[in-house]
Subunit: 129 residues, 2 copies
C-alpha cells in the first residue's frame, strides 16, 4: 500500500484492512482452531485466501501455527500475545456494529453450532493415494 508507515493508525490499518483478517482473529479469540474449522466458520472463504491470510498473520507474529505429526495431519492456529492485543479492537467493532449498524447477529463460531455433541472424528478413513 502507500501510506505513512510511521503513523500508528496507518500501520494498524494495513493489517486490519484485509478482507478476512479481522474475522480470523475473532474466530481465534475464543480458542485455537484448525484449518478446516476456520474454513467452516468463515463461511465462503476459499482455502487459498485462508491460507494466504494465515501465513501473513503468522509472519506478522499475530498468529502461531502448530503442527501435529499425526496420521490425519493436524495443524492448529492460535493467537500470540500480539494477536490477542487486537481483540479489544474487534470488540469495539462489534459494539459499533450493534449500536450503529443494526447488526444483531453474533457471528461467533459457537453460535452456529448445529449439534453441540462432539463429532469426535469427522472422517477417520484413509485418504492416502
Amino acid at each position: 500500500m502507500a501510506y505513512d508507515e510511521n503513523c500508528p493508525v496507518c500501520a494498524t490499518a494495513e493489517i486490519v484492512c484485509g478482507k478476512w483478517t479481522l474475522l480470523i482473529i475473532r474466530d481465534l479469540a475464543d480458542d485455537r482452531q484448525r484449518f478446516c474449522e476456520l474454513e467452516r466458520s468463515l463461511k465462503g472463504i476459499s482455502p487459498r485466501t485462508l491460507s494466504l491470510r494465515l501465513r501473513a498473520l503468522e509472519e506478522e507474529g499475530m498468529v502461531k501455527r502448530e503442527t501435529f505429526p499425526e496420521v490425519p495431519p493436524r495443524v492448529e492456529y492460535a493467537l500470540t500475545e500480539k494477536g490477542r492485543a487486537l481483540v479489544p479492537l474487534i470488540e469495539d467493532m462489534r459494539s459499533y456494529g450493534r449500536r450503529w449498524l443494526g447488526a444483531e447477529g453474533d457471528c461467533t463460531p459457537a453460535a452456529e453450532d448445529d449439534a453441540a455433541v462432539a463429532p469426535a472424528v469427522v472422517a477417520p478413513p484413509a485418504f492416502a493415494a
Copy 2:
C-alpha cells in the same frame, strides 16, 4: 463484498476496510476540514479517491457535508455522531500501532505543520475561466 451482513464485526469491517476511510475519520476527529485540507493532510490521496470516500461516508451517515455559497467555493466536512462513534476505534488502532508495530509518529495534521503562522489565504486571485 461477501460476508455476513448480520455480524456486527463484519459490518464494521466493511466500513473500515477502505484504504483511506479511517484516516479521513481520524483527520476529522479533531475538527471539521475542507476538501483541500484533507487532500493535504492525507498526503498522496487523489482527489478522485478522496471524493469517493467522502461521498460514501456521507451516504453512510458518518460525515456531514456543509457548503458555503461563497465566491471561492468552500465546503466543509465534519463527523456526525455516528462518525464520531468510530473515534475510539481509531484510538485503539493508534495504541496498537504504537505498542506493537513500533509506529511512533503521530500523523496528526497539526504535527506536520511547517509554519504555525496562519497562511491566511493561499491563493486569493481569481481562477475563473
